[in-house]
């Protein structure tokens, strides 16, 4: 992180790495685009942003004219020292904040953001000399956002270790970062993408639409014997199911990092 201001959190027996300190920032919406029929990509230019690690999140605070505020957490789809921060926001049917961010926000708007946040659900390249560890990413729906940031950072780091994304999504139109993910597959990076469609598949797809099964998971993920680090992100039900199966399949619980999104 070349021009990033770094500070160090509390040092602990486990060892805390230097991480950019979280703070409040003013973000200008630089661009918006429709990500899926139900989601929008927001590119923010964040004043004073110290950069962020792949997998981190931030809080967005909205303030109404009478002072009422609403704050929500969103995963960040980008990483590195840049002040350009990318979010991809799924519109929740009864949401208060996400419909505003998805449908109302336009280029030039200002938003308050707090971050970068979280130091556990992140991926960092192996230290020089250390053996890189294979990584298995498992996403349900919009849970792909932090995992896309990790996959892109891995490709940028020229890490030779096995790196796979298993991505469960409703329909082909609901795939986030579709062009970018297929670009990662096409590049020379050792990246593999396995898509599971739960509602409808592309024409000619060899499998029927349906929820991922334990058998399909076992086939798609890097075997436990290779000791992958596994990141799982999605709804609570998806994460609980997948994490339980991973443990049953012999993955070390300490090698499975989970992040769930709630209902608001």
């Amino acid at each position: 992180m070349s021009d990033a201001a770094l500070s160090v959190g509390p040092t602990a027996a486990g060892g805390v790495r230097a991480a950019p300190r979280a703070g409040w920032h003013v973000a200008t919406v630089a661009a918006t685009r429709r990500e899926t029929p139900n989601a929008t990509r927001l590119e923010l230019e964040v004043e004073g942003w110290p950069g962020n690690a792949p997998g981190q999140h931030l809080d967005v605070r909205l303030t109404a004219p009478d002072g009422y505020t609403a704050t929500r957490s969103y995963s960040i789809a980008s990483s590195g020292p840049s002040r350009r921060v990318v979010l991809a926001i799924d519109k929740l049917p009864d949401g208060e904040v996400s419909p505003f961010l998805v449908d109302e926000v336009r280029a030039g708007d200002l938003l308050e953001v707090h971050g970068p946040l979280g130091a556990y659900f992140v991926w960092r390249p192996a230290a020089s000399g250390a053996d890189p560890r294979p990584v298995q990413l498992i996403a349900g729906g919009s849970g792909v956002v932090p995992l896309y940031a990790i996959a892109q950072a891995h490709a940028d780091a020229d890490d030779p270790s096995a790196f796979r994304l298993l991505y469960s999504v409703r329909t082909p139109a609901d795939v986030y970062f579709a062009d970018e993910l297929h670009g990662l597959v096409a590049a020379s990076a050792p990246f593999r993408l396995d898509l599971v469609y739960t509602r409808s598949t592309p024409d000619g797809w060899p499998l029927q639409a349906g929820r991922i099964t334990r058998e399909a998971l076992e086939v798609a993920v890097i075997p436990a014997a290779e000791r992958p680090l596994v990141y799982v992100c999605g709804s609570t039900g998806f994460v609980e199911r997948v994490a339980d199966w991973l443990v049953e399949l012999g993955h070390d619980a300490r090698s499975i990092r989970t992040e769930r999104y709630g209902g608001t």
């Binding site: 509390p10 003013v26 707090h114 609570t236 619980a253 769930r260």
Partner: protein, 196 residues
């Protein structure tokens, strides 16, 4: 530095005095966990308090024979949701510490699965914390920390360690799992002690 967000009016004006700043009322029960949910059988479960002078230990049956309290309380998660008036049953930390002699003032809670969180002892005593095993009249679900979790409602809910298996007394405050990973050492929701 707060400013008005263009076009945002918000949905609800029923601001409840019981909601700390930055919190939103929810009616479901979201889950925040760093990893898989451990499978803990009450036949194998035990709870320990370790001090400078020794260890106190309870099996599940011994634990269930202690004084059990009904607790009604609000809970606040650092990820901006709160629930009001939740009902729990559990054993007060005052009961568990009744025969514990210690000069040490800080506690590290340890969980099945390896999770840890730190809390000052005086924020666990005098009716402020429980080991809870029932939520809403039902045994606590594993994904919410069953068979038993710490319940410290005055602090953000990551301090209420799920799948708790013991408390270790410490001479000084040291960060637990989330505290090493970006969350505040203390975690008072009314002061918005979310992150360091």
């Amino acid at each position: 530095m707060s400013f008005i967000t263009r076009g945002f009016s918000g949905r609800s004006r029923e601001r409840d005095d019981r909601l700390p700043p930055g919190q939103t009322l929810v009616h479901d029960f979201p889950v925040l966990s760093a990893g898989p949910t451990p499978d803990v059988d009450t036949a194998d479960w035990e709870f320990t308090i370790r001090t400078e002078s020794g260890e106190h230990r309870w099996s599940w049956d011994e634990f269930m024979a202690l004084d059990i309290e009904d607790v009604s309380t609000d809970i606040h998660c650092v990820t901006h949701w709160s629930k009001l008036g939740t009902s729990w049953r559990g054993v007060s930390l005052d009961t568990l510490f009744a025969d514990v002699e210690t000069e040490q003032e800080y506690v590290m809670a340890h969980s099945y699965g390896g999770y840890t969180t730190n809390i000052p002892l005086d924020e666990l005593l005098d009716g402020k914390a429980w080991i809870a095993f029932e939520f809403d009249g039902e045994p606590l679900d594993p994904e919410h920390g069953g068979p038993a979790r710490l319940l410290v409602p005055a602090l953000y809910f990551w301090k209420s360690a799920k799948w708790v298996r013991g408390l270790e007394m410490m001479d000084q405050d040291e960060p637990g799992f989330w505290e090493q990973n970006g969350y505040h050492l203390h975690g008072d929701p009314w002061k918005e002690e979310r992150y360091w």
